[in-house]
Structures are given as structure tokens and as C-alpha cells.
């Protein structure tokens, strides 16, 4: 049956990006989640243009507008379609800006972690032996630190700020990437083209970056999408524990956790709408990542 696998793998490769695109477009789930994702990312990018108010500009936010129900009018006449939060920020605008923060945090931390993880994982797989053993122990140590605790300590250490959250999340995540890429690279390393490269006396750097990297990276792309979704949720948890982003520049997570204080008082919208947005975002990324995996690897072999 091994030839069947080869056949289906071949089929994918054969038809390249064009066919992949076609596959993406032909599945409704993929299409919808992809569309949703684009919509979400776009509204994050264009938040300053779309959002009715700028919730980060303190001179325009007033606590006198605090906790207006959806549809009520704020002092300056703007209608708060999704209500306002405790500090008087328009929830709709906050969601759009918060989405921006959340995505920035999630994506940049994923990218940084990916870069570190790739370097470590590839080095480890390429050199093997003691270097591998050493690096993998470091990874073990990192993985055995519970993510939340690392982030807590780091943020306590570094202080608040989006950049700090990004650093903390990157530190929390890199080891996972390192381990995954190492596993993939170890498989690649055993393939004959790797030996061929050795035989052709190509330099180590070239073998690592030109051959090992491109071939080990595909499983990571999927992992990265899923991990991005996960880190949005970790960031939210950090905000809940009080060490997330600054209160004046809320992310989706901190909006939810701040709003939660009001849930018993009936001001559900402060936590509810950001919650829905978080859910939609994370779900869209997750589903898309899943579909991506299914498309990249139709039989889910290996």
C-alpha cells in the first residue's frame, strides 16, 4: 500500500500551488474559514479606519460613558452599537483595536518563536550527538516550565506591555517548534538527498538552510497556525491573571477578563462580544489550519 501513499503525495505535489488553491477554494469549510480569517485580519489592520472611536486615545474616552448598553448614545453623540465598557470605551472599537493587539501579539510571538525554534531544531537535527542532546535537554527544561508560569514570571520581571507579552509568549512557545522541527528534520536527514548533499560536499550552512529547512518547515506551518490561535487564548489568560497587556490598550483577552467583572451585574456585552470575537478568530484560524493540514497531507500519513 505504500505506493498508494506515494501516489497521493505525488498527486498533491504534481499540481502544486495552483491545485492547492483550487482545493482550498473547492471545500466550503476551508472557503468559509479562510474568508472569515481574511475578514478578521483585514478589520484588525484597518481598525483605525473602521472603528467609530479610538479607544486607545484616553483624551477621547470618558468614564462618564461607562457601561452603556448596546445601541445607546455616548456623550459625543456616537452610538455605541455594542455598548461601552467600564472605562467608557466603545466595545465595537475596542474589539477592532483589541483584535489588532491580539493578532499582533499572537503572530509576532509565533514568528519569533518559529525563528528560534527553527534554528535550534535544525541545528540539533543536523549535528546530532552531543549538540543534539544538549539542545534537546534545554528544550525539555523549557517545556517543563508551565507556559503560564513562565509568562507570569517574565511579565513580572519585564513589566507590562505588548512587547513584553510577545517576548513572554515567544519564550513559552519556541521549544515546541524546536522539537517539532527537529523531529521533521530528523526524518529528512535520513533521506537520501541529504546524503547526496553530504557527498557533494556542500557546506553545513547550505545543507541546513537550503535543504533541511525548506523540507522540514511544512509541518511547522500548520503547527504555527494552531499555535497562533492558542497563544491568543494564552494571552487572554495572562490578562485574566493580571499580567497581560496594558489596560489602556486592551487586547481581546483583556477585554474579556475585564468585562467579566460585570457579568453578574448584567452588563454582559462587555465580555460577551469580545468573547464571540475571540472565539470566531481562534476557531477560524484553527479550522483553517486543520484544513491546511488536510490539504497539505491528504492521507494524514506520518
Amino acid at each position: 500500500m505504500s505506493n498508494l501513499k506515494a501516489i497521493s503525495a505525488l498527486r498533491l505535489r504534481n499540481e502544486g500551488i495552483f491545485k492547492t488553491m483550487q482545493a482550498v477554494l473547492s471545500k466550503p469549510t476551508t472557503l468559509i474559514s479562510g474568508f472569515l480569517l481574511i475578514l478578521i485580519v483585514a478589520s484588525a489592520i484597518f481598525a483605525p479606519l473602521i472603528a467609530p472611536t479610538n479607544p486607545y486615545d484616553l483624551s477621547t474616552v470618558s468614564i462618564m460613558d461607562g457601561r452603556l448598553a448596546p445601541g445607546e448614545e455616548m456623550f459625543d453623540g456616537t452610538i455605541a452599537w455594542l455598548g461601552t465598557d467600564g472605562a467608557g470605551r466603545d466595545v465595537l472599537s475596542s474589539i477592532l483595536y483589541g483584535l489588532r493587539t491580539s493578532l499582533t501579539v499572537a503572530i509576532s510571538s509565533a514568528l519569533i518563536a518559529l525563528a528560534i525554534g527553527l534554528s535550534v531544531g535544525l541545528t540539533s537535527a543536523f549535528y546530532g550527538g552531543r549538540i543534539d542532546a544538549f539542545l534537546m535537554r534545554v528544550v525539555d527544561i523549557q517545556l517543563s516550565f508551565p507556559a503560564i508560569l513562565v509568562a507570569l514570571v517574565l511579565l513580572a520581571l519585564l513589566g507590562k506591555g505588548i512587547d513584553k507579552v510577545i517576548i513572554a509568549l515567544a519564550i513559552v512557545q519556541w521549544a515546541l517548534y524546536a522539537r517539532t522541527v527537529r523531529a521533521a528534520a530528523m526524518v529528512e536527514r535520513r533521506k537520501e538527498y541529504f546524503e547526496a548533499a553530504t557527498c557533494l560536499e556542500l557546506s553545513n550552512a547550505r545543507i541546513i538552510w537550503k535543504h533541511l529547512l525548506p523540507n522540514s518547515v511544512s509541518s511547522l506551518i500548520v503547527l504555527a497556525t494552531l499555535q497562533t490561535a492558542h497563544s491568543i487564548s494564552i494571552e487572554a489568560t495572562l490578562s485574566f491573571l493580571g499580567v497581560g497587556v496594558p489596560i489602556t490598550e486592551p487586547s481581546l483577552g483583556s477585554l474579556i477578563s475585564n468585562g467579566f467583572d460585570y457579568i453578574l451585574s448584567g452588563a454582559y456585552w462587555i465580555t460577551f462580544f469580545p468573547g464571540i470575537m475571540l472565539l470566531a478568530t481562534v476557531a477560524a484560524i484553527n479550522i483553517f489550519g486543520d484544513q491546511l493540514r488536510a490539504i497539505i497531507n491528504p492521507r494524514l500519513s506520518k
Partner: protein
């Protein structure tokens, strides 16, 4: 004829040397678990210029390992691997510094090319990196290289998956030849191909030998293929060469009982299958090879001393050498 490759009692083991933990554990009476697997054990071999040396033997007997040692992909543990008379491995650093003189072609053409590299890059990467050609010459160089293996220019910008197995194997060959090797190690290079494609590739090998005066180490367990291409054939059993001779000598007059068994089992169209089992028993584990002659547990003509005495490869005249105590006795 000058010898391009010469191996002198080359050994290569796999496995882990016992570390501190192992030593402590053994001190406390645990059974030692770290075992060495001697994949190649004291091989002497030479390849002459322009010669095709076939290497046959059961699966797992160390053919590929030997091939890798010759190609300089693996460092050896002891002995010497000489290329044009010069050692291939810097013993102190274990760094391989063989130059590009020996290249290897692998069994599986699907895995031997980087799936994400265009054919153009696959072929020219090494020559450019080693300064054999300029980047600007890459294209014309690659066209020439492809031409040699019977592929056309339109292959250059495609990716490996867009080729059939036979074509891919040709590309591998073109890639290897692009760095002007003198010796090519073919490790089961035709095993995964269909007979008709296999025929194409074998033809290509033969043509190249004639046009470039290449030397080959041709590894296969398909005796009919080896028989077809080789000048000389070496037979390997459990990490050791048990017989080596001119191809015709070996096929017509196999001396070693293992060679005899091997040859008698090759399925052919006209011979019917004999009722007799040529060999009893399975290939023993290379982790704990039998004492004395490694073949003795399966050997139909084993004698008492075969259990304890290890035979050496000895000449039987006209370059036919065999390692068997019984044969030596007869003479």
C-alpha cells in the same frame, strides 16, 4: 590499471560506546546493553580505473555501508580508505575531505532529490559552491549535464516530482557527474525501477563508463543485474567479503558455498525451481556474529574447525579470491 579506490582492512561499527551510566550499571551487575554492530568488518578491496566492481550479498550484510565508506559519506573506524592513493578521512577530526572524486547514486530516486529544489539548482548547486563553474554559466552547464543523461532542456525548471522514476534517476546521475567524479558508487540504483526502466538506466551506466572512463562500485542484490554490468564481482556476507573474482569466473565457477547458494536461487525464466533448499537458516544477527567462519551455521560443507577458525580471503589464482577453509583444504 591504476587503482582509484583502495580499502585496507576497513571497519565500521554502529552503536553507542558505553557511557558513564552504562559503566555504573554494569558495575552493579546489569547486563551490558550497549552493543556494537560491526557492519563492515575488515574489508580489503580495490577498484581500478574504468572498472565496474559489482557487490552482492544478502540484505543487511553491509553493502550500503561499504558503499558509503567508499563514497566518503561515512567515516570509517579503522583501516584505510584511499582515493588515488591518498587517505580519504582525516583521522584526527574524522572530517571527510575526499574532494568530489567519488559520488554516490542511491536506491530510491524519489528520495534522492530535494523535492523543493528545481532541477537546474540540483545539478548546479555543488559545482557553483565549489567554484567549478560561474553562476552565469549555470544554465548552459546544466543543459549539457542533462544532455549527457538523455534529458532535455525543458527539465531544468521543473521539480523532481514532475518526473518519472527513471527520469529522476537520470537527474541524480547528472547531478553526480556534474562534479566530474572518477568513481561512482551505485547503491541499488535500479532496484526500485521497473524492468524496462531499469534497462534504460543500466544502458546509461554502461554508456557513461565508455565515454568518461568512470569506475563503478555497483551494489545490488539482484544478481542478474550485477552479472550484466560488472567486470568483477565481490560477494559479501555479514560485513565481510567472502569471494571476489572476475564476473565470468565467479558465475561459472563459484567457490564459496554461499556464492553457490546465492547463484542457484536466482529465479530465471528457463530454470525451474529446484526442490532443495540451497541454504538453511536465517542470516544471523550482525550484533552477535557467529564465531570462526561467519557462514558456518548455514554452510552445507562446514567442518569442525570452521567453528573456531576465521578464514581469510586468499587467492585462488587469476584474481579469484575466496575466504573459505574448506576450499583452502582442497588445494
Amino acid at each position: 590499471m591504476p587503482q582509484v579506490i583502495e580499502l585496507k582492512s576497513v571497519c565500521r561499527s554502529f552503536g553507542k560506546k558505553p557511557d558513564l551510566a552504562d559503566r555504573i550499571a554494569t558495575a552493579f551487575g546489569a547486563k551490558s546493553t550497549a552493543k556494537l554492530l560491526r557492519a563492515v568488518d575488515g574489508v580489503d578491496l580495490a577498484i581500478e580505473q574504468g572498472e565496474v566492481l559489482g557487490l552482492v550479498g544478502e540484505s543487511g550484510c553491509g553493502k550500503s555501508t561499504l558503499g558509503r565508506l567508499v563514497a566518503g559519506i561515512l567515516p570509517h573506524d579503522s583501516g584505510d580508505v584511499l582515493f588515488n592513493g591518498k587517505p580519504m578521512v582525516d583521522k584526527t577530526s574524522q572530517k571527510i575531505g575526499k574532494g568530489l572524486g567519488v559520488q554516490m547514486i542511491f536506491q530510491n530516486p524519489a528520495a534522492a532529490l530535494d523535492p523543493r529544489q528545481r532541477i537546474l539548482d540540483a545539478i548546479t548547486e555543488a559545482p557553483i559552491a565549489h567554484g567549478l563553474i560561474q553562476r552565469s554559466q549555470a544554465r548552459s552547464f546544466a543543459i549539457e549535464a542533462l544532455d549527457r543523461v538523455g534529458l532535455r532542456e525543458d527539465a531544468l525548471d521543473r521539480y523532481p516530482h514532475q518526473f518519472s522514476g527513471g527520469q529522476r534517476q537520470r537527474i541524480c546521475i547528472a547531478r553526480a557527474l556534474a562534479v566530474n567524479p572518477e568513481v561512482v558508487v551505485c547503491d541499488e540504483s535500479v532496484a526500485s525501477l521497473d524492468v524496462s526502466i531499469q534497462a534504460q538506466i543500466i544502458n546509461l551506466f554502461l554508456d557513461l563508463r565508455d565515454s568518461l572512463n568512470l569506475s563503478y562500485l555497483f551494489i545490488s542484490h539482484d544478481i542478474s543485474v550485477v552479472e550484466h554490468v560488472s567486470d568483477r564481482i565481490a560477494v559479501m556476507y555479514l560485513g565481510q567479503i567472502v569471494e571476489i573474482a572476475r564476473a565470468s569466473d565467479l558465475l561459472e565457477n563459484p567457490l564459496h558455498p554461499y556464492t553457490q547458494a546465492l547463484l542457484s536461487e536466482v529465479p530465471t525464466l528457463d530454470q525451474t525451481l529446484s526442490e532443495e533448499h540451497a541454504l538453511e537458516g536465517e542470516l544471523p544477527s550482525p550484533l552477535s556474529p557467529p564465531s570462526g567462519c561467519r557462514f558456518h551455521p548455514r554452510c552445507p560443507i562446514a567442518m569442525e574447525e570452521c567453528r573456531s577458525l576465521a578464514p581469510r580471503l586468499e587467492s585462488q589464482g587469476s584474481g579469484h579470491r575466496v575466504s573459505c577453509l574448506a576450499i583452502r583444504k582442497e588445494i
